[in-house]
Symmetry: D2
Subunit: 338 residues, 4 copies
């Protein structure tokens, strides 16, 4: 921590500040310049609340100099985390594609879509059985029936499956069926859920919250990691800004930013980020070009009848075209899809 003192500080104020820092457990180093004095305060755990110092008389500004996350940081682990699930690796050279409907709606639906998805080279089937909906009156998912259908469709077409978990008490049930747990954007800071998933042994995809900074997001990953589960992938799906033409603002710069600050793989979800079908293809290409380790895309064979998020779901031939294009983009940057 660095403490900048006010210019005309009294001796008494100075002594009081130093005393406080020492009481908090810091070793204090003083740097004196022409106009100002700066204190280096070193040696305390990363979650110290710097506002405790900010409010002392004579303090002009305080800066935290350690990252608040540890296990998630690149300085803790230099090599990329590669998450191996059966024969698929997320975070390696291959860019993995996850695709499927927003929600599992029927056996016919999920089998039809799984077939389309598997043909193009996607490796993971997505599909919600428990759906977080803004409105209590909207379709809330098929629950366990949906999980069963998803698993069966995945097995039949040789796809891994990923599905969302919304509450801690759903974990044992979902764990039976899924290969990867998905944590939704609105639950990114549901700390009990993070903690409980940290105690499971299946990989987790953690979506970024609508108002979460990259640092908040990595702190949430830290919750999972510190509870024992090291297989966390992060998913950028757009943040909330003043621009409302797209559903959210797709923060693609977050991909290289996370890669610099953390060793965890990053998934990009252009379907939720833009909310509009005709924006999914260009933004999927952009995500791969920016370095995403995996792509999550909504696909539906009959989106007009989809029970949720139809308007952002690709039609089968659009998805095929997307796969063609993103493969070529991946090659340009020395990676591959399939």
């Amino acid at each position: 921590m660095v403490v900048v003192l006010e210019k005309n500080i009294t001796d008494k104020q100075f002594e009081n500040i130093v005393k406080h820092l020492e009481d908090f457990g810091f070793a204090v180093h003083k740097s004196t310049g022409v106009e100002q004095v700066v204190l280096g305060a070193i040696g305390v755990k990363p979650d110290f609340d710097i506002r405790k110092v900010k409010i002392l008389d004579g303090v002009a500004e305080v800066y935290k100099i350690t990252e608040p996350f540890k296990l998630a940081s690149r300085s803790f682990r230099k090599e990329n985390t590669e998450i191996k699930i059966k024969d698929v690796v997320v975070g390696g050279n291959e860019v993995v594609v996850m695709a499927g409907p927003c929600a599992v709606e029927s056996e016919e639906q999920i089998f039809t879509i799984a077939e389309i998805v598997s043909k193009t080279g996607a490796k993971i089937l997505r599909g919600g059985a428990f759906k977080p909906r803004t409105s209590p009156y909207s379709f809330q998912g098929l629950g366990e029936e949906g999980l069963k259908m998803l698993r069966k469709a995945g097995d039949k077409f040789n796809l891994l499956v990923i599905t969302e978990v919304m509450e801690s008490n759903q974990i044992p049930l979902i764990e039976e069926y899924t290969d990867i747990f998905q944590i939704g954007a609105r639950n990114m800071q549901n700390f009990g859920l993070l903690r409980d998933l940290g105690k499971t042994s299946k990989p987790i995809m953690l979506k970024r919250g609508l108002a979460a900074t990259v640092e908040d997001w990595l702190m949430s990953a830290e919750y999972i990691l510190s509870n024992g589960n090291k297989e966390v992938m992060l998913c950028e799906r757009g943040i909330r800004t003043f621009e409302t033409y797209t559903r959210n603002t797709f923060d693609l710069s977050a991909i290289p930013v996370v890669h610099k600050r953390s060793h965890l793989p990053v998934v990009a979800d252009p379907s939720h980020a833009t909310g509009l079908r005709d924006k999914v293809l260009p933004m999927a290409r952009a995500a791969i070009a920016a370095g995403a380790d995996a792509l999550m895309v909504e696909v539906h064979h009959d989106p007009e009848k989809a029970l949720s998020d139809g308007p952002q779901s690709l039609l089968p031939d659009q998805f095929e075209e997307l796969m063609k294009q993103v493969k070529l983009i991946a090659e340009v940057i020395g990676r591959r899809i399939n």
Copy 2:
């Protein structure tokens, strides 16, 4: 729903759009102008996803014309909801003050603060026993011990108590001790928690999420209301914007906005909104002047030693001064405190 058609639409496109609207269950009305055609589509449930129409060929724009919430809306219920808890009413003429530490830390601490708080005319004691913390390494609250201390302190000083519930499985325990359940900002869209609290019979204070529009917030209230619990108060505690000098941006305009669109009472929390002790007093005054029905303020007798949020907690004499000033402000607008 209103559907604006593109200027040079073909007959085939037009028929296709009308057919879709009718299939979705709408009655369609056509308005023709010089340059454009507008369709009024009437008669469907409020959670219809308008993007289903937005993506049809020939559609220029679509507007939803019904509010997505019902039970929470002013048009559903004209009179203000008054929540009566023992002898305290939230949402009536009296402006109710809730005060206390961020977290319950010890019996001595909570008794000391409860005494200070009760003397000034505050009616409700706040204090966290389960704490949502960004870092897994931070103090997470005293749990049931904390609840017991809070209850005892409330009873001794004749104060109601409010405390946060973070997970559904904490509900039965917390219900034994608290008078009001608090839902934190990060759980505003934890839909399972909302649903489960909707089935309890104690009042609920729902904090606004960092990235929640007023509409999102009222939709979350709708989750609780539609599950049977009608005693919901909303709490404005700042939203996340580009301005970082204050912890959040206190959106005081949300107070009159909610009062227009909903019948539910609004609490204002200047401590979390600003995150800085010296901004709490002016912003508490502003909140009352803007029409808040209640105030939630953090107070600590020794904030430098507080285990969380000390820097935004008022000192006892500052809180006393605050109470003096907000009482006068309340009188100016024809209300009273105590």
Copy 3:
């Protein structure tokens, strides 16, 4: 400036960093802790671009420790700046009210409104003659004719006048007629205009830009101050956020924040901040309660026919009521209006 080094830095990297800092003209102080090394770099002008250091190999983070503005800062000048214009003082104990139409539309209109405004105790008449409009097809103001009408109305009813200047070449003309120059939010970083107004000798009201932090805003004030004009008042009028129900988000916390960081007076404009007539009264009360030094409010005797911003203009009797209420609020905090 404080430079935090990476944990496993090599000697060569360390030497390179120190050399660069010295070449940039800094005196370097080293603080060594258990896990990390921090350098204090002291002695360079406030506009040094810290990213020059951020990109050096081995640097983890860099913090600027001096405020980038000087003349605008509270540390440069301890006492509040009081701006005396004839017999009105902005920034003293009295809270000054500026009111009038968005735009001057006719002699009859501005005289009618001036009379209403002067009766209630407002001291300054607002009215635009040159209007910044988002659309090139909207009413752009009456120009010099508008200025003349405004001046005449002000003189007749013993009111000072304020009007907006949009371009440097309008300065000489507007200076003839106005008492205060207004700089609009969209011109807050029109640096040429700031510089040229800095060379005039009339007071300036600088509106905050839609995406401006408090620091950006004070930097723009610094442009004016550093060119010689010391009479700058700042005007908070809402920032742009994801919440769109109100036109902007009124950041009332900015009032005490500016008062802490700067000696310049702060005006609050609830009309532009909310954009809705029925939100102006509560937010005007809140602004005074938060400590605003002046209030700017739009008033129109026939807002339905107003050529711009009618929907946010108060009716005469609403304005009268507002004046009554804000006077009482001002008294509560030991100030007065009129």
Copy 4:
């Protein structure tokens, strides 16, 4: 315009609303549903302020159904605008690269960089002579001397040149030297400057403002177009959000959004959007993949000594690598660079 009425509207309110709409010049169409009545109001100019209707008694909501811009819209002009400048076309199949230093600093500097830039296949040399700086104490550019150097360097290495114009009175001077006028983000709503540049005959690149929606941005383009200059290209350079790790948030979705709503070409500037050199390469690739018609990149042979924005400038070999990669990406989507 669509006017949604409140559910329990009285006959008198209804008549009053219709009368107002007719007085404003609208033809009114009524659609009656089970629960609500909707009025279609058709036939008025695009800048009508819908709040005039929003405030009438009995009105629940109002929607504007015409885009406020006309000349800039895709419905006005179906084909893409191609801007031909000597032998370079912006907006055609070729993706054009503009590169150079943030500011022209000396003849040696601009010649050195121009040579690097021209070798790799970039077609346009950028370089500021008048610099908009947040601080009045920062380097403000070389002025006319800088313009001369830029022109000479462009001519010598067969590059077009682009440079920023900050004030209307600089137009005649800059017009002598530049091929394209650049309008900076902070001047996007400097309406006088837009109007005056609309009267020139050289192409204009209009940067998006930090808080500008796509609609605001296109409205500013409309100012230029409606004054006669049809050669406008738009430049996405990041918007301001709560995420501060990158300088701004690069809104790449704006590229396909603008392409849908307008016929004007879109340039992407990853240097200003991210503010960090090591993020420029991945985000340049992403911008091309998202469909940008041109790229603007900062390059400096000695960025540590650059007088402005050195930290976001690419080194020569980084720029060469960028050109290699973006060429391949362009080919994947059926376009070319050079």
